[in-house]
């Protein structure tokens, strides 16, 4: 079910919900909701209930909690007990006030919403030991632990802070160090120091922090030190919108350093993959001795799901400890690590560092997921997406195929270096090619254009919202129609 409480939801398109999903909406918003959509809303007078129970309209969310709990068939004492645990520390009046409001919402729903059918069976389950609730940030942090990370340096930044919070508690218990640095520059530099010292080291940040870390990341490229940088994207440039969604740091991840240093950029496509990809990141960083940037985003970071705990366990393939190099430097240097400036020496090192990256695409298993039900040469359209957008694109593709469209899809998790052979095959589609991503300029499209020589459409958004399947499907259809017109 969906619950709508805020006015700002109506600033953008209402999320599409399949017909059978009940959409509960605060009654005070109902008239403007009806204007915006012909959707099927179930009004819940939560603002009113909150006020009647002695609170403020802002506490409508607590009333809504009671409504949802009643619909799910949860026992009232249990719900009120959890609420007390949550608010108990805030003082007696807050706790009592929320108790009354939640009860009011619950009692109202129990009496008035008996007609609402739910798709899920919400009856209690006896055994929950091996089930967890997890979000993308926690998955990434767990993934780092499982991959043998033993040094983590953090600086608080939305939306990446929870990764540091998790590791601050858990990493010392695993024998590692979790350090809050004075700024992001200190964070990346201390991770590089730990990497030099033989440990698997990592930092987590967002756009503004990535900008600060660019010099350090370049140092990792030049000194050939493995390090993992998790960048949880949010809209930029600069402070941007700290709590919104975007996929606009790709080019900064690939090209953000001065000079021409090597980097690898990975992007998980789901909460599960936020966990899985960390082992790949550390192994690859060590194998290629370069920085690996893992691009997640606000949406993945905060999306919660239930899962089997077993899906989030693993063992690092190696202990991750490397012997110390004798000397590292950011100056151009020969194989022994000492400065070299001769034209031939310099060229040799530049070529060596560049050539090692040619093996990345084949080294990483499952660099891209290929969905060519209809085969690229036969497809009307070839779509491509990365990161959290993949889930929405898959829904859109499913809907469009039902309408008879032949679609080939490519979902890379290795964004850079490019997964060349998959992209070459994908670009052979007879129809048009569309790359769908959450940034204004089509950043992955720009990278792909350096490899394939046929035109690519960039279907993009920079509105700070996740891309929705209906919008994506609509956009794809528009482009396909336009192409058909152009052809005639």
């Amino acid at each position: 079910m969906a619950v709508i409480l805020g006015n700002e939801v109506f600033e953008s398109e209402l999320p599409s919900a399949p017909e059978l999903v009940p959409v509960l909406i605060d009654s005070v918003l109902l008239s403007s909701a009806s204007e915006r959509s012909d959707g099927h809303f179930i009004p819940i007078p939560v603002s009113e209930l909150a006020v009647k129970a002695g609170g403020t309209p802002m506490q409508r969310s607590v009333a809504a909690l009671g409504v949802v709990a009643a619909l799910l068939g949860l026992p009232q004492p249990m719900v009120l007990g959890v609420l007390h645990e949550w608010f108990g520390g805030k003082g007696r009046s807050a706790s009592e006030s929320n108790h009354l409001i939640c009860k009011a919402g619950f009692d109202w729903a129990a009496a008035s919403l008996t007609h609402v059918q739910l798709l899920v069976d919400a009856s209690p389950v006896r055994q929950i030991d091996d089930r967890i609730i997890i979000d993308g940030n926690q998955a990434a942090a767990l993934g780092a632990l499982a991959a043998g990370c033993s040094f983590f340096a953090s600086y608080p930044i939305t939306p990446a802070t929870p990764i540091g919070e998790f590791l601050a508690r858990q990493l010392p218990q695993a024998g590692g160090t979790a350090h809050q640095a004075e700024d992001e520059i200190a964070a990346i530099c201390s991770a590089l120091g730990a990497s030099f010292g033989g440990k698997r080291a990592m930092v987590a940040t967002s756009g503004p922090g990535l900008s600060l870390m660019q010099e350090g990341i370049g140092y990792a490229s030049m000194a050939e030190l493995p390090v993992v940088i998790v960048n949880v994207q949010r809209p930029g440039p600069s402070t941007g919108m700290a709590t919104r969604q975007a996929q606009d740091d790709l080019l900064a991840a690939v090209h953000g350093g001065h000079g021409e240093g090597q980097r690898i950029v990975l992007a998980p496509r789901s909460v599960q993959e936020c966990f899985d990809i960390m082992a790949t990141a550390f192994t690859t960083a060590q194998a290629f001795r370069c920085p690996v940037i893992v691009l997640t985003d606000s949406l993945l970071a905060t999306t919660k799901m239930t899962a089997d705990a077993q899906q989030f366990t693993g063992t690092a393939a190696s202990s991750g400890e490397l012997p110390l190099q004798r000397i590292v430097t950011g100056i151009e240097h020969d194989e022994d690590g000492f400065p070299v400036e001769t034209p031939s020496g310099r060229t040799r090192q530049m070529v060596r560092r560049a050539e090692k990256m040619e093996r990345v695409a084949t080294f990483i298993p499952g660099a891209a997921e290929v969905d060519c039900d209809d085969g690229p040469p036969l497809a009307d359209v070839a779509v491509c997406a990365w990161g959290s957008t993949v889930a929405s694109v898959k829904s859109a593709v499913q809907e469009l195929r039902k309408k008879g469209m032949r679609i080939a899809a490519l979902y890379p998790r290795l964004l850079y270096p490019l997964c060349g052979s998959e992209l070459d095959a994908w670009s052979a589609a007879s129809g048009c090619r569309i790359i769908i991503e959450g940034n204004a300029s089509g950043q992955y499209a720009a990278l792909v254009a350096t490899r394939i020589s046929v035109p690519v459409h960039a279907l993009t958004t920079c509105d700070g919202e996740p891309l929705q399947p209906t919008a994506i499907a609509f956009g794809i259809q528009q482009i396909v129609q336009q192409e058909a017109v152009n052809d005639h």
Binding site: G197, L324, G330
Partner: protein, 290 residues
């Protein structure tokens, strides 16, 4: 068996400093200090930033990290966390440590990062050809501030004590034996230790006057009743030595200004391990919180 101090010098790579540079004296003294502490070349990690003095690790046979301008301290901290048994020594200049790197110095000191910091202070940026640095005297002119800085120099001793550095000392290349004793004491201290080493630039300060002016060096222990464990007294002694203006008379004390009593350890090694706050904070079992 004692390692001869020359074993700490990199073979096959001559230092690139100007002939007569005071840093040769620091290099020599540093190798003698390592030898005196019975290290082998496989023990220390020498971490530097960018600048003339930051070239130091390239000329030593120890492990070395030649890092980014101003950032030696965070690199050193990460390395120490990964290799806690090794002595980690930061060698950098006044511009590197107190211009771009001042923030990192502040936090390394207050967090008691267990590294030794040697500031080779020539009161200017030498490698980039003579700009003023935070320790240049008032009115000193450099190529990017040709009319002079107008600001009083940063008193790095006072600053270090103020931000809770537990070991703060000043030495000078003109007093070699004292410099070696001070470096050995700093390396032996089980916590953050800082030594400002007055080491003039042969090229841009050939008379060595920028730092000292007309003053003479004086051993701090010659002051009656000076107790380096007394922090207010240390601050007072440090603040009197502030003004580097030429022509001022008086004396500049060198020696250990402040030394906080160290936590006693039971390990028998020369370098004692310090418990770090971050490793001990979460010592109790903490259930996984969502």
């Amino acid at each position: 068996m004692t390692t001869d101090h020359t074993a700490f010098l990199r073979q096959g790579l001559a230092p690139s400093w100007c002939p007569g540079c005071s840093f040769y004296q620091v290099l020599d003294t540093l190798t003698r200090s390592f030898a005196a502490l019975k290290f082998t070349p496989d023990d220390p990690v020498v971490v530097s930033g960018i600048g003339c003095s930051s070239r130091m690790p390239l000329f030593l046979s120890t492990f070395g990290m030649h890092t980014l301008h101003g950032r030696a301290l965070p690199f050193a901290f990460g390395c120490k966390m990964a290799q806690p048994e090794r002595p980690v020594v930061v060698v950098a200049g006044d511009g590197d440590l107190f211009s771009i790197g001042a923030n990192h110095f502040l936090h390394a000191a207050r967090n008691n990062h267990p590294v030794t910091v040697l500031c080779l202070d020539n009161h200017l940026f030498a490698m980039t050809k003579n700009q003023t640095s935070p320790t240049s005297p008032t009115g000193h002119c450099g190529s990017l501030s040709p009319s002079g800085t107008g600001a009083a120099p940063l008193n790095v001793i006072e600053f270090a004590i103020a931000v809770n550095a537990p070991f703060v000392a000043r030495a000078a290349v003109s007093s070699r034996e004292h410099m070696q004793q001070t470096i050995v004491a700093a390396l032996s201290y089980p916590g953050f230790s800082f030594v400002q080493i007055l080491s003039p630039c042969r090229t841009y300060d050939p008379n060595g006057k920028i730092g000292l002016g007309e003053r003479k060096l004086r051993l701090i222990n010659d002051t009656d009743g000076f107790d380096p464990e007394n922090r207010p007294a240390a601050l007072q002694m440090a603040s009197h030595a502030l003004d580097y203006q030429r022509g001022e008379g008086g004396e500049l004390p060198i020696g250990v200004y402040y030394k906080k009593p160290a936590i006693k350890h039971t390990s028998s090694g020369i370098i004692k391990k310090t418990p770090f706050a971050y490793q001990n904070i979460y010592s109790s079992l903490d259930p996984l919180r969502v």
